[in-house]
């Protein structure tokens, strides 16, 4: 597997009325100026202004809460569309450092957070078993074979 699959059905979006229930309901849009799912649909699908959008760091403000698609009167999969543009942007190197770090940590340790000495001590004090060690080599290889090559290599 490689490349970015189409994660939404483009034709569904031709039914978008630009009513803005998506943006009106969006928690991120309330607090981040410039994050606007309605406008992203307009630009990306209806106007074809894709490259500009894929360079924007604003698209990463989506919390994937999916209230947009739940409330969309046409039931359009807006969340799938946002995941799609984030996948494409990441392929072009536009992704936040925070997420990149998390993904590299998964490839390295199998987990998205690093246990500290404090974690180990508290677990012991509470009588919990030591953390299981996932098979990190297998996890890394699976991620690579599924297509996540470049992102893990570049340092």
């Amino acid at each position: 597997m490689s490349g970015t699959p189409e994660l939404f059905n483009r034709k569904d979006f031709y039914r978008c009325l630009q009513c803005a229930i998506c943006t009106g309901s969006c928690p991120a849009a309330r607090v981040i100026e410039g994050f606007n799912p309605r406008e992203y649909i307009l630009k990306y699908i209806l106007y074809g202004e894709q490259e500009e959008l894929l360079k924007s760091d604003m698209i990463w403000c989506c919390t994937t809460c999916q209230i947009c698609q739940e409330r969309c009167p046409h039931g359009i999969d807006i969340s799938g569309f946002l995941i799609h543009i984030m996948n494409l942007a990441a392929e072009r190197g536009n992704l936040p450092e925070e997420i990149l770090k998390e993904i590299r940590l998964i490839a390295e340790t199998g987990r998205s957070i690093k246990p500290t000495a404090h974690t180990v001590r508290i677990r012991e004090e509470l009588g919990l078993k030591a953390l299981e060690q996932p098979d990190t080599e297998e996890i890394r290889n699976i991620l690579r074979e599924a297509g996540l090559k470049g992102m893990l290599d570049q340092k």
């Binding site: 994660l7 309330r30 760091d57 919390t63 809460c65 698609q69 739940e70 409330r71 919990l128 953390l131």
Partner: protein, 291 residues
């Protein structure tokens, strides 16, 4: 019942007391939890946004580990539940994706047939047998608690995948936590905008913590309006956002009313007689003084 436990990354590392709660609770209810060498789920707010197929394949590996032992999975985090259930759903309905995933897994002598089920902890607890058992074994009823619930977006949406029903804009919430809390003796409260996001992903993914806290503060406002005095969550990311979030907000506004936050497993374990010290409840930023 024997089931494999999927704690996710946050609970065992950041909130080991929650893990104690989950294990003690399972023990009291006769649920045998099996630990497996799962990886990160991976997160619907992380790898999924960056590389969909890698997200799907790593999630499928986790499903395969449990399926190989003939076990269903119980999750204690809304994000993990979302990733695992959506993955199972995609692979059931999309043969192309299933073939690609199986091809990768087969190189590591793994397979996936899709026979295993994934439950979120409150779903299991809300079964009649466990509700009855909890009422029977109740030692510390949650009296004096006017408690609100926050399921976390990924517990709820999309409804077709997460709640096994058509979405309903007017009744978007399941009642699993409400049923559990009532059987533990709490008074369950409703509040406005209950189904909305806590804001955590905005802060985790982009570092915009101030803006994320604005989302949290708005939800807290609705909770305060309903005069709830405790909040139950099912997700450790939501827990951090509300617990640490209130501590941060209080620095700016010393007179702010605060609401102690609990993972549902903590409340259930406590109510069934676990010692609050063993559950590490004193490490919460907003102190649960009334327990």
């Amino acid at each position: 019942m024997k089931i494999s436990l999927f704690t996710g990354c946050v609970i065992p590392i950041r909130y080991p007391g929650m893990e104690v709660s989950i294990r003690e609770l399972a023990g009291k209810l006769g649920i045998e939890l099996v630990d497996m060498k799962f990886s990160c789920c991976p997160s619907p707010t992380g790898l999924k946004e960056v590389h969909f197929d890698s997200w799907l394949t790593l999630a499928a590996r986790n499903l395969s580990l449990a399926e190989d032992q003939g076990l269903d999975i119980v999750t204690t985090c809304s994000g993990c539940a979302n990733t695992l259930r959506e993955t199972a759903c995609i692979l059931k309905n999309n043969t192309g994706k299933l073939l690609s995933v199986r091809k990768v897994l087969s190189r590591y002598e793994m397979d996936l047939k899709g026979t295993g089920k994934i439950f979120n902890l409150p779903e299991l607890l809300a079964r009649d047998e466990y509700l009855d058992l909890m009422e029977e074994k109740l030692i510390n009823p949650l009296i004096n608690m006017r408690i609100g619930t926050h399921y976390g977006c990924h517990y709820l949406r999309p409804a077709s995948v997460m709640l096994d029903r058509e979405q309903d804009t007017y009744f978007p919430l399941p009642e699993t936590m409400e049923l559990v809390l009532e059987s533990l003796g709490a008074e369950v409260m409703e509040y406005s905008r209950q189904e909305l996001c806590c804001g955590a992903a905005l802060s985790i993914n982009t570092g915009r913590s101030e803006e994320a806290l604005q989302i949290t503060a708005e939800k807290l406002g609705w909770m305060n309006e309903a005069e709830i005095n405790a909040l139950a969550v099912t997700c450790p990311a939501c827990f951090t956002q509300f617990d640490t979030g209130q501590a941060l907000l209080k620095r700016k506004n010393r007179n702010m009313r605060t609401i102690p936050v609990f993972h549902i497993a903590e409340l259930a374990a406590y109510a069934l007689g676990s010692d609050p010290g063993r559950l590490n409840l004193n490490t919460h930023k907003i102190k649960p003084h009334f327990l």
